[in-house]
Amino acid sequence: MEHFEPEIVAFCCHYCAYTAADMAGSKRISYPSNVKIIRVPCSGKVDAIHLMKALEKGADGVYVAGCLAGDCHFKNGNVRAEARVNRVKKLLTELGWEPERVAMFNMSAGMGEAFAQVAKEFTETIKKLGPSPGRTGAMDKAAS
């Protein structure tokens, strides 16, 4: 456990979160390198299946980062994303997984600090939870 480096996938919307991540870079704000970003046009594009598959394939935690409430470039994609994340949380609970392994965050394009902060906090949360049951084979048990 002491040297556990989690694998974390962040689905970031192009207009806010992905830009905020770039902003964190240009301000040279560091955050854990565990976080790997996959860019999507809108957080509302992120399907429940993408979150589940990410966990199944080996992620210890997955989050979706979209625009601030009311600021979505596509009106309400971020609201849909949040609802989906909540559905996946329920699903995980039913499977006996920690629902904290998935999360939704909101930030604006200019919020480089917020991006780094979210990345740090989420990584800490996952570190405390330990490796995902998917990695340790618990997935099969849960599914059976």
């Binding site: 770039d22 964190a24 870079g25 046009p41 200019g110």
Partner: protein
């Protein structure tokens, strides 16, 4: 047309604009003109375009590397069909008048055939014996490329330094050497001229007190940039020239040669040196060690630009850059260590101090050189007392000669964002009355037909940039490539240096062709800034633009994990795996276009909005001005005089009259925006207008935000509670309306930075120092015996405003500094107003009796208004509630949301002439978009697999734009022309019948596979 080898006359019905000077300003102006389909010729006296900016290491306030931000602009310059570039060319005469000039140009011999030169560098290797690259520090090559991304991409030779011409010819395998090359004269018809020649930097070698150029470890700010630059003399290693060791203690001395009246000094402020010194100090700590001590000796810290005060605070508080308020008078060199001793005095101690440093950087400012004075003479334009171009008070891009426009530093000292704004403004002015050239090839037609890759197995090329030290300084690029080159379908994996340079692009193109690649992964910076560039590269070699994936190894890896190189290395490999796995599933996509609405909406009817609207309307564009107040004019209505002494009211009235009378402008006062929909080029905005608040909808293709800012009135120092405490705006009115009241006053005290540069409103309001000086001068003019005290924190009379500050001191206006920790106190003693403050020179508290106290309260963002509009239009704002432009350095007028442009005080506080310039720039930028006539909607749209669709109506319900419907066949239909490409429907569709192209499920899952491949 060619008459003989050395002389040609170009007469053309398609008149063009001549842009003189190929720095960032000239490039921006030329590109704007070309994008709005005007023919342009860009000339530069140098052998490559790029100007001063290409020599900088990084730029404030983002601390980005310059080359990677400017090079896309440069090679864009090489691409535009309406744009011709002539380097090594000067203007020697300009006859005729606006609209019908005849320009005489002289082109120096390059001795290299640019068509043949492949820039292999052999000649440079064989003849490396002269200096031409970085100022004073880099002894290299008579044949010289200025920087790795040079345009044109060819060398040039200083023939006077070559003794054996035959040997030189032999070296060049391409046969590009032209020993007999001659100067060429061209006479050409031009409609207008844009002057963007910049200025030189002051040469401090004339200053004996600073070593007269004899001390190895005293360098100028620009030399320091070159030392830190990856393309500089020490390959980006910060070392002392004397012993090659890294300095431990570096000092910057500000205002060297500026803001002085001694023999070598100029009196004006160069506007940029405070910011560049802060930047250099921060980058020094960031890149070369936290423990390097950095000290800046300054007189006034002038960080008056947008967000610059926060940058200054960051330098002082987070980077621990030491700030010493002093103007040192001597530097002495220690003969044994070559260390430097600076002698200086600080204001509260009368004794001189000596302090030793390893390296000293002289922050030198702008100077007009003799060549430019000669050019001005050839152009027949007037110069101001400092030899810069004299410009119109209200319209700074107008020179004294009609048809000749000026922008950038040659108008007055300024930084890059302001230069970009002025360049777009000058381009917009130069294009007035110049007909649009017939539409030629559109973007896509310039490329070869696409190769059909159906049935081919994926053949992937992986190319990774080092971006100088930005990536290469943290990652071992070769090892990263080794780790991914065995991935399935990867055919080549190569490092490409600066991947965005013409050289590397050519290399990548050649490898795509040679290895018959059909997929490409670029590991480099952010796709947000560079994806289009690499997509274009694919199109040039006949591949569909959607067959490339950009992997963000810089902004999201090396920049954030610079202190953990091993982790960055590991992450880079994984990110590349994601890119490789993703690109394997990519397939060719087709983009959709729609005709664009040609109307413009201008939000805000102040000076800025009216100026922008007039500029657009004059070009035949139907323009709507929406103003919430009952009348036009905005904040300028409450202003009487400018610092130049011009009356504001008649100027505003003229604008109002012109706007109201214009047949292409519809003015809607008492109007508020209530809804907004559509997409860039096809916007629909709903307003409620008039006393009855009638609803109407405006269709428009572009939007200009000119909503202004608010005059600040914070309840400080008794404002609103004590009589005779007023703002500078109140004083401005009083001076105009009741001069006798001023004459009856004995003492007036002004207090600066009220409600600015403090918690709640951290940035500088920019306008207040000049407002105080303006009003102080006016007081002195009306009533010479009235004493005026200005209590300030830093006097920020940037550029030529410094002249007014000096004049005020000459007239006896007393300037007393205070600090934020020890602010002045306004009180009433027996009904008398008294201001108490600490005088740092006397080192004691003093009381000043005042007949009135004038507070410099500046501007604050119109939070409520910008918030409403930001929500409606989906636009980002800064933390202090101004609108946030797309790129603070290079795109200061464009918003990230296409079709939106920003001008005036809605962007940040600025004076009237700066608002007018930005308004013209916004109108110009809007025209470049309207000139395209159609909008590209991209290829990222949702498509329905009819076989899977169960007509469940979920997509119909969830689409934020009501696009899907159930068609006659009973299945969901999504029109590509209407789809915004968010993918919400694809995310919700229970049958997985909808895919968002370019972000299809199998592509996202493949990326996840790539990430977790071991």
């Amino acid at each position: 047309m060619q008459m003989n080898q050395n002389s040609e006359n170009i007469l053309s019905k398609d008149r063009r604009v001549l842009v003189i000077g190929g720095g960032v300003g000239g490039i921006r102006a030329a590109l704007d003109l070309a994008e709005s389909r005007r023919n342009v010729l860009l000339i530069d006296k140098s052998y490559a375009i790029g100007g001063l900016m290409t020599q900088l290491d990084r730029t404030f306030p983002t601390n980005n590397c310059d080359l990677c931000t400017v090079s896309p602009h440069l090679s864009q310059g090489g691409r535009e069909k309406y744009l011709e570039i002539k380097p090594m060319t000067r203007l020697t005469g300009l006859d005729g008048e606006a609209g019908a000039f005849s320009a005489t140009l002289m082109t120096e011999p390059r001795y290299i055939d640019t068509e043949k030169c492949t820039a292999c560098g052999e000649c440079a290797k064989q003849f490396p014996d002269a200096v031409r690259f970085s100022p004073g520090l880099d002894p290299r090559a008579p044949t010289c490329m200025r920087y790795p991304q040079a345009t044109p991409f060819a060398f040039s030779i200083d023939m006077s330094k070559i003794t054996d011409v035959e040997a030189l010819k032999k070296v060049c395998k391409a046969g590009a050497i032209l020993p007999e090359d001659q100067p060429r004269k061209t006479v050409m018809d031009v409609a207008s001229v844009v002057l963007s020649v910049g200025a030189d930097l002051f040469d401090p070698n004339v200053l004996d007190n600073f070593g007269g150029g004899q001390f190895d470890n005293v360098v100028t700010g620009l030399e320091y940039e070159r030392i830190m630059s990856a393309s500089g003399p020490f390959q980006g290693n910060l070392v002392r020239k004397s012993d090659g060791k890294r300095p431990k203690k570096v000092a910057w001395i500000q205002c060297v040669g500026s803001r002085g009246i001694n023999r070598a000094d100029v009196p004006y402020c160069s506007s940029v040196c405070c910011m560049y010194a802060l930047k250099e100090a921060m980058v020094t700590k960031e890149r070369f060690g936290e423990d390097i001590e950095t000290t800046i000796f300054f007189m006034d810290m002038r960080t008056h630009g947008k967000g610059y005060e926060e940058y200054f605070n960051r330098a002082r508080d987070e980077y621990n850059v030491r700030m010493v308020r002093s103007r040192p008078h001597t530097i002495l060199e220690k003969s044994e260590t070559k260390n430097l001793s600076i002698a200086y005095a600080v204001e509260d101690k009368s004794v001189q101090q000596n302090e030793e440093f390893d390296m000293v950087v002289l922050s030198t400012g702008f100077r007009v050189n003799c060549e430019t004075k000669e050019l001005a003479q050839n152009l027949g334009i007037q110069l101001n007392e400092h030899d810069f171009a004299e410009s119109d008070h209200f319209n700074p891009v107008l020179t004294s000669r009609p048809g000749v426009y000026v922008c950038g530093v040659y108008e007055s000292p300024k930084d890059i964002p302001e230069t970009m704004v002025q360049a777009s403004a000058a381009a917009a002015m130069a294009a007035t009355n110049l007909p649009v050239s017939p539409a030629g090839l559109n973007g896509e037609d310039m490329f070869p037909p696409e190769r059909d890759i159906t049935g081919e197995d994926p053949r992937i090329g992986v190319f990774v940039c080092d971006c100088g030290f930005e990536i290469g300084g943290v990652l071992n690029v070769v090892n990263v490539l080794d780790a991914v080159k065995t991935r399935p379908d990867v055919v080549v994996a190569e490092p490409v240096g600066y991947g965005c340079s013409s050289e590397s692009m050519a290399k990548i193109e050649a490898m795509i062709t040679k290895h018959k690649l059909n997929r490409v992964v670029i590991g480099g910076c952010s796709p947000r800034t560079h994806e289009t560039k690499f997509q274009d590269l694919l199109r040039r070699v006949g591949l569909n633009r959607y067959l490339v994936e950009m992997v963000n190894l810089r902004d999201q890896n090396t920049w954030t994990h610079m202190n953990e190189p091993e982790k960055a290395q590991e992450k880079a490999v994984k990110l590349l795996q994601v890119g490789i796995a993703g690109v394997r599933t990519n397939h060719p996509l087709r983009e959709h276009t729609l005709p664009m609405n040609q109307n413009a909406l201008v939000v805000g009817g102040g000076i800025t909005g009216m100026t922008a609207a007039l500029k657009l309307a004059d070009q035949g564009i139907k323009t709507y001005i929406v103003e919430r107040a009952p009348s036009l004019g905005g904040l300028a209505r409450s202003l009487r005089k400018t610092i130049e002494g011009d009356d504001v009211a008649p100027f505003v009235q003229n604008l109002v009259d012109a706007v109201t009378a214009h047949s292409n402008i519809q003015v809607l006062t008492r109007s508020v925006i209530v809804d907004h929909s559509g997409m860039p080029g096809l916007f629909k905005t709903g307003i409620q207008t008039g006393v009855r608040m009638n609803y109407m909808q405006i269709n428009h293709g572009v939007t200009i935000l000119a909503t202004g800012a608010l005059a600040n009135r914070p309840p400080q120092y008794g404002l609103g509670t004590i009589d005779n405490v007023m703002t500078q705006l109140d004083m401005d009115s009083l001076l105009a309306d009741d001069p006798e009241k001023i004459q009856a006053m004995d003492q007036i005290v002004m207090i600066q930075c009220v409600g600015s540069r403090e918690e709640g409103n951290p940035n500088c309001s920019r306008i207040c120092c000049q407002a105080a000086v303006k009003n102080a001068l006016k007081v002195k003019a009306i009533s010479p015996d009235t004493e005026v005290f200005i209590l300030y924190r830093d006097m920020r009379t940037y550029g030529f405003l410094e002249d007014y500050y000096r004049k005020a001191r000459d007239l006896g206006v007393k300037f007393i500094r205070f600090s934020l920790e020890n602010r002045p106190r306004v009180r009433q003693d027996d009904g008398e107003l008294v201001v108490g403050t600490h005088d740092y020179v006397l080192d004691s508290d003093i009381d000043i009796a005042a007949d009135c106290v004038v507070l410099s309260t500046g501007l604050v963002a119109d939070d409520e208004n910008t918030e409403d509009l930001a929500l409606m239009f989906h636009l980002p704002r800064t933390e202090d509630h101004y609108f946030l432009e797309d790129h603070v350095k290079l795109r200061p007028v464009d918003m990230a949301q296409r079709g939106f442009f920003l001008a005036g005080t809605a962007h940040s506080p600025k004076v009237i002439r700066e608002c007018i310039t930005q308004a013209q720039a916004a109108a110009g930028r809007a025209q470049t978009m309207l000139a395209k006539k159609e909008i590209n909607l991209g290829a990222c749209v949702a498509v329905v697999d009819e076989k899977k669709c169960a007509s469940c109506l979920i997509c119909v319900r969830v689409c934020p734009f009501d696009v899907p419907f159930i068609n006659a066949d009973g299945v969901s239909q999504i029109d590509a022309d209407k789809c915004h490409g968010c993918g919400v429907c694809a995310g919700e569709c229970p049958a997985k019948a909808i895919q968002l192209l370019a972000y299809e499920d199998d592509q996202i899952l493949a990326k996840l596979d790539g990430l977790f491949e071991r």
